[in-house]
Amino acid sequence: MKDKFDHLDKLESQSVFIIREAYSQYRDVALLWSIGKDSTCLLWLVRKAFFGKIPFPVLHIDTTHKFKEIYDFREKYAKEWDLNLVIAKNEDALARGVGPDTGKFECCNELKTVALKQAIAEYGYKALYLGIRRDEHGIRAKERVFSPRDEDFEWDYKNQPPELWDQYKTKAAEEEHIRVHPILGWREIDIWEYTRRENIPVNSLYFAQDQKRFRSIGCETCCGPVDSQADSIDKIIEELKITKISERSGRAQDKESDYMMQKLRSLGYM
């Protein structure tokens, strides 16, 4: 046993508290698992919160364009951790041929957002656990731990409940579902330090091969690797202490900017 309640212990216990609190409020919940490092870390915390067996479904929104390593990881650990894995796809859009080549904005919108809406409608989830973090992306800095979405998925970020002294507003209006963000306050480096401490399995895409590694993973078509020598968790942690490159720099731009770029390019700009 360690003799000190350190930074990671504190993060872990806060997250476990939020996970249990949300489950006691909603019951009809699911964990959204993108199979990246953050949602896998969240999944680990949820397993801890419920002593190894997660009492609700684990939902994977499958665009069908994920890296092979992601599918392999999903199959392996869904079995090993005895997950109630639900895989959701927007079959209509896929049948229509929607994909990265037909336009990235539409692709993301149909295969991620609409697919999730369909899954929520089909299974009637009242709350979803998501592994987003405040330091990932500008707009996420404004997020709350308990974050309501209306039926159109709109997030009214100007009308959010205050969350002072860890008092969370967990009640939702009928038409809303709640997004629960148990690791909102974790930083990228916290994720890696916790992953190292807990021996959480890591997708091989995160480790450098030929001087390149992925810092953020998703669809194969829209993720690029960053230059890196880090082929182990220790080296990743060292790299994060000195890097000036942003975590999502390998990702295609935000959906709108990406689409704007495409439109401008088609008219000869850029």
Binding site: E256, L264, G268, M270
Partner: protein, 425 residues
Amino acid sequence: MSTDSRTVIVGLDGVPFGMLKKFGETGVMPNTHEIIKNGYFSKLRSSIPEISSVAWSSIITGANAAEHGIFGFIDTHPGTYSMRFPNYTDVKVKPFWEVARGESVIVNVPATYPVRPMNGVHVAGFVAIDFNKSVYPSQLVPLLKDMDYRLDVDASKAHTSMDDFLEDVDKTLDARIAAYRYLWKNQDWQNFMLIFTGTDRLMHFLWCAYADENHKYHELFVDHFRKIDVVIGEIVADLNENDTLLILSDHGFEGLETEFYVNRLLIEKGLLQFNPGTDPNLSNIAYGSKAFALDPARIFINQKGKYPEGSVAPEDRESVITELTAVFSEFEINGKKAIKHIYRKEDVYSGPYIDEGADLILIAESGINLKGAMGAKQMTGKGPFTGKHTLDDAFLLINKKIDAGQLPPTPSVIDAGQYIKSKVS
């Protein structure tokens, strides 16, 4: 509907003075021809640079870029090389409909995305992405979708199939007209602004079809203008005596002979470098670079304190400007000078946001299209485009004679914007 005098503005994106005149005289646009004969018809100077987002922002605000804050389709986040796409939320001066008497209907004005609440109806134009953020009030979204309303032509189709592109141009125009007809009749309005942007898309790819009467798409090109003239005829028939109709374009157009990739010249002259082993793009600009260009040909000096790898000391700015001016003014394509005019920041901009503007803005000689194109392998080339924007020959047409002093002898888009503001307020 109010009996007060109303203002109607019809925009024909990119249509040059000469083309409108010709289509009037040759019977393609008879309704427009009537207005030309009896009203005010003049060339209009575009914004510098001559692109839609900057020019339309001037038309709706009556202000120049250093006041309204829109300098191009692309810019950098302050203090960085990271790219941003300025939009309607960056426009610092109120558009006329936010200072106008009564209600306004605004359809398809470029650079007005995302929409915000206003007194009337606003449907955003290029570059509008998300339908839900393009329509105010949102109750109109399902209605417009039922009309198969399209925010913009999908210009990427022109790169693969001209027939698909033309079909899209046509459907987009039909839907735009359906939306205008619905709003004209069913909405209360004092001011109505409707912009046709398919004209610009057509001219980019098919100027060649306009120029050549035997071109297989010539008739389709001309038909597009016939359809627009029918709308103009409808509008004229519905106007009251006191109403004002303005028809205008934001820039002109001409045939494109060569594209000139400005950043490539900077690279070859040793004025722009990228970090070793990285792709030639904005975020990889290396220390030691003196300047870089953003589309179409806005030259920014890589000044110390302004950019992370800034290497030109403020006291050296003047000498770098002299060096750049020499490089650009001497540059020749096939033995002919490529650059017609080099504007300095102070020549074109005046206002609180002047620091965000480029240090130099280049205007090309006829037939040459300027692009930033950091990744270009050669200095010049030609893509799928056969037409390009021009600065001096947009047009302004008003359905009545103008009192002396209301507009200068050769008005600019800014003058047109101020005239509109005076009409509606």
